[in-house]
Symmetry: C3
Subunit: 218 residues, 3 copies
């Protein structure tokens, strides 16, 4: 009886697949910006890859894991290359799928924020450290992308989108649930909360305030 | 006889308090810049915190201390959050205290430069390495702040203020005194020298030269 | 019989000398940009040194070597200071030697890319990781230089020069030869290939494509 030659993926394998989807989405976002900025082929590949692996590199550096995961497991860089190559090959046509891309981007944000929080907890950090590392792991790739493209990091301005805020809320969720749930479920719950906050904020129900400057009208 | 229920703080505790004052001042300077740049609430908190902990992160990364101190001891991030929140809440009104802020800023520069130099000496570095690490620890937070805000780091231009120069001079002082004094006194002397150089330079007595370009008048 | 009082340098010593030439060239390129940007004396020294040691710092951080080599061996920082001081002292006159500088720059690129690849191989990375680390070690100093000077990293645009591409090709060569040759010869071969690609690209025989944007003419 060998009906079960195919075994379902373990949860860990499932998370890894989601992780790679996040990598792919971030690679696309970095490479598309590079195409718009008229970088050459190699510049597009480099910006795509750096954006894709940046968040994980921040997470691993702050939690003392050397070498960072993206160097230990080659599938990460291959996925980043694939996404960057797609962006170069299809260019502006991909931009039409902006809505789809944005979903992938949120997924990547969610997964990196949650895995950053887990890493920080395992490293023995306190609540604020966990939130800080989780948040930076989620938004790190995008910040590096915008710095290299010489733009103010978009995340600082996206007040109608609760981007970094969503990542921080997800990391805080992981911290709160960690002592009550198995780590894996805490991680998934944190990632789910990031997606929920992103979805709420995209409906336009919440906006972050901006400090008024003197002489400015309300 | 329990008159001594209150014991005076140890020197180490005293230094920690000064360290936190520096963190607070750097958080204010980063968050105020973010307010001026129209970042949203979360962007203000993030830029404030990153500016506040940046110098210490540079110091701890270069001298192999993981996790960096600001992740091990949560009081650092709380202090950074407090300073950033104050800057968002009071905004332009804080800018009137520019002179006070500038004193705090110099204090932070002095303490981070000196503690970076101590860390580098304990790590076994030579004189130039000690000066380099001490200087970068002092100015690192400000450089990260200006990079994220997409400006040329102010420290590169402040030739009428001897900013990075003061940090380097303080680190050099720590190096020179280290074999003759207890480490703690060497550290305080280095910090004091930074403040002295800052004070002298603010009086306008010293200016660093700028290389003239061809065709330019003296 | 003491005719052999002078012994020829070992290969390792030879490589170190070449390494320092690369440091010197990168220091000149960073400091000259700082002079053009009107940085003050200290800003010129800092940008020159950071550019010179940046590539090696990236290499050592990604391959887990703390402290980075430039902190362990003071000759590196002295060389970087020397190059930066020369650039400040001679300023625009050095720019006339642009062709010579460019040769030094390529030499530095070649040596850092090859030594980064060796470090990554010794660290147990796979082929893509070796290429990524080698490439970043070669171009890292220049990227940091351009970020601090608030410019889009030149390497992203140099499509008529195959700059980062040359570094990646050299790192790939080291990876391919590593199992067939002694490490030292593999390293030298990789560096040689970088120089070859640079020379070919400077003749204008190869150009990297840029993705056309919609509405643009060929």
């Amino acid at each position: 009886m060998h009906e079960l030659a195919w075994t379902p993926p373990t949860l860990q394998e499932g998370l890894r697949v989601l992780d790679l989807i996040g990598i792919l989405a971030f690679a696309l976002s970095g490479a598309l910006l590079a195409v718009r900025k008229r970088f050459d082929l190699f510049g597009v590949l480099v910006l795509g890859c750096v954006t894709a692996v940046g968040g994980g590199a921040v997470r691993d550096t702050l939690t003392g894991q050397t070498p960072p995961l993206f160097l230990r497991d080659e599938i990460y860089l291959w996925t980043a290359l694939l996404g960057s190559g797609l962006a170069f090959g299809f260019g502006e046509r991909l931009a039409r799928f902006e809505r789809t891309l944005s979903v992938f981007d949120s997924l990547g944000l969610a997964l990196f924020a949650a895995s950053g929080a887990i890493g920080a907890i395992n490293f023995g950090l306190g609540p604020l450290g966990v939130i800080f590392v989780g948040m930076l792991s989620g938004v790190g790739g995008g910040i590096i992308r915008d710095l290299i493209a010489n733009e103010v990091p978009e995340v600082m301005y996206r007040r109608d989108q609760l981007y970094a805020t969503a990542a921080a809320a997800g990391a805080a969720t992981v911290w709160l649930l960690f002592s009550h749930l198995p780590p894996f479920q805490a991680q998934l719950s944190g990632a789910a909360l990031v997606l929920l906050v992103r979805w709420i904020s995209r409906r336009g129900w919440v906006r972050l305030p901006v400090r008024r400057l003197p002489g400015e009208r309300a």
